[in-house]
């Protein structure tokens, strides 16, 4: 259990760029090096962690912990995975407050903000290409996005309405396949 917690912490420190980046590292550590997890057990856990809401790395940690030591295991594992980013972001937030007044930092952020915006736009386009196989759903999704952007309606609400409509479309289509 201690080994598990420590290796999750190690993975969390190395895992740049979010949850998906961490999964191969977790596999390397737990399945190959420590051998406390079988390959198919790992795949089951990842499948479940990805299907439901929440950060994938945290969901994975909770499930790993539960497998080894129940709820206490889950708590320890999720702390191991959350603590490194928590501390590093806290440190950066402190530093950023001090340096953001410099013009070189502001100019860098001008470009970086555009970069992140482009990443999000590009990600939505890729998601659409990957997940949306029918025109009606595409229209519903775009309409939903437009409503969120231009009307003062909560994105949660729009998400639920869109989901209700999409559910019937997805269901019908997939059953035919």
């Amino acid at each position: 259990m201690l080994k598990l917690a420590l290796s999750l912490m190690k993975v969390s420190i190395m895992g740049l760029g979010g949850g998906y980046g961490m999964l191969p590292l977790i596999e390397e550590e737990l399945v190959r090096k420590l051998k406390i997890l079988k390959e198919d057990e790992f795949l089951d856990i990842v499948a479940k962690a990805q299907s439901f809401p929440g950060p994938i790395a945290v969901n994975t940690a909770i499930l790993l912990g539960r497998m080894k030591a129940g709820i206490l295991g889950s708590i320890i594992c999720s702390i191991s995975i959350v603590l490194p980013p928590f501390l590093s972001i806290l440190l950066i937030a402190l530093m950023f407050e001090k340096v953001e007044k410099y013009s070189i930092v502001r100019n860098f952020m001008f470009g970086a903000r555009l970069g992140v915006t482009i990443i999000i736009i590009n990600y939505s386009l890729e998601l659409i290409k990957k997940m949306v196989k029918n025109r009606v759903i595409l229209v519903i999704l775009i309409a939903g996005a437009v409503v969120i952007v231009f009307f003062k309606i909560s994105a949660f609400l729009v998400f639920l309405v869109v989901a209700t409509v999409v559910f019937f479309k997805v269901t019908n289509r997939e059953e035919k396949q």
Binding site: P53, G54, P55, V58, I118, S124, M131, I148, A155, V158
Partner: protein, 172 residues
């Protein structure tokens, strides 16, 4: 009492964060920028840039950073706990209920993962409207889009290049 507001706000976000980091991000933008107005879009984008360059899931990074900015250390702690608590609920209880009740939970989950595209796209459009507001930013955005599509850089490298271009454009 902002720290308490943050806690419940991030619990709501964690509970509905379908589709990984980008789904969470769209919900966070909605709550933090549009509903509560705790942050502006540019400030939110600073956070995302930082988040992209540091370890950890975007949802955790955002909770910690926003919590700290709004309500200091207690805000950071409560927001972070708030965003991971729903994961426990999902992994321990709700996932079993869904798997029990539904013959084919994949359809429901696929529905959510498809529908989350609407908020993500909305966040993308919203952020574009607030960052692309003159000719320089428009040209730079177009250039960055082509660079990203060429898939030559990792996301971290891409942000660094974008920032570097920002310095070049603004200085000269």
């Amino acid at each position: 009492m902002k720290a308490i507001d943050l806690f419940f706000c991030f619990m709501k976000i964690g509970f509905l964060a379908f589709g990984g980091g980008y789904g969470a991000l769209s919900m966070i933008q909605n709550e933090v920028v549009r509903v509560h107005e705790w942050m502006t879009n540019p400030e939110f984008l600073d956070l995302l840039s930082i988040s992209q360059m540091t370890p950890g899931p975007i949802a955790i990074n955002s909770a910690t950073y926003i919590g700290y900015r709004i309500a200091g250390l207690s805000g950071a702690v409560l927001s972070t706990i708030g965003v991971i608590l729903p994961s426990f609920m999902w992994m321990y209880f709700i996932s079993f209920i869904i798997e029990r009740i539904l013959r084919n939970p994949r359809k429901l989950l696929r529905t959510f993962r498809t529908s989350i595209i609407a908020p993500i796209l909305a966040a993308g459009i919203n952020l574009t409207l607030s960052t692309v507001n003159d000719l320089i930013s428009f040209i730079l955005a177009l250039l960055l889009f082509m660079l990203l599509r060429s898939k030559k850089l990792s996301l971290i490298q891409f942000i660094l290049v974008a920032g570097g271009l920002g310095i070049v454009v603004k200085t000269f």
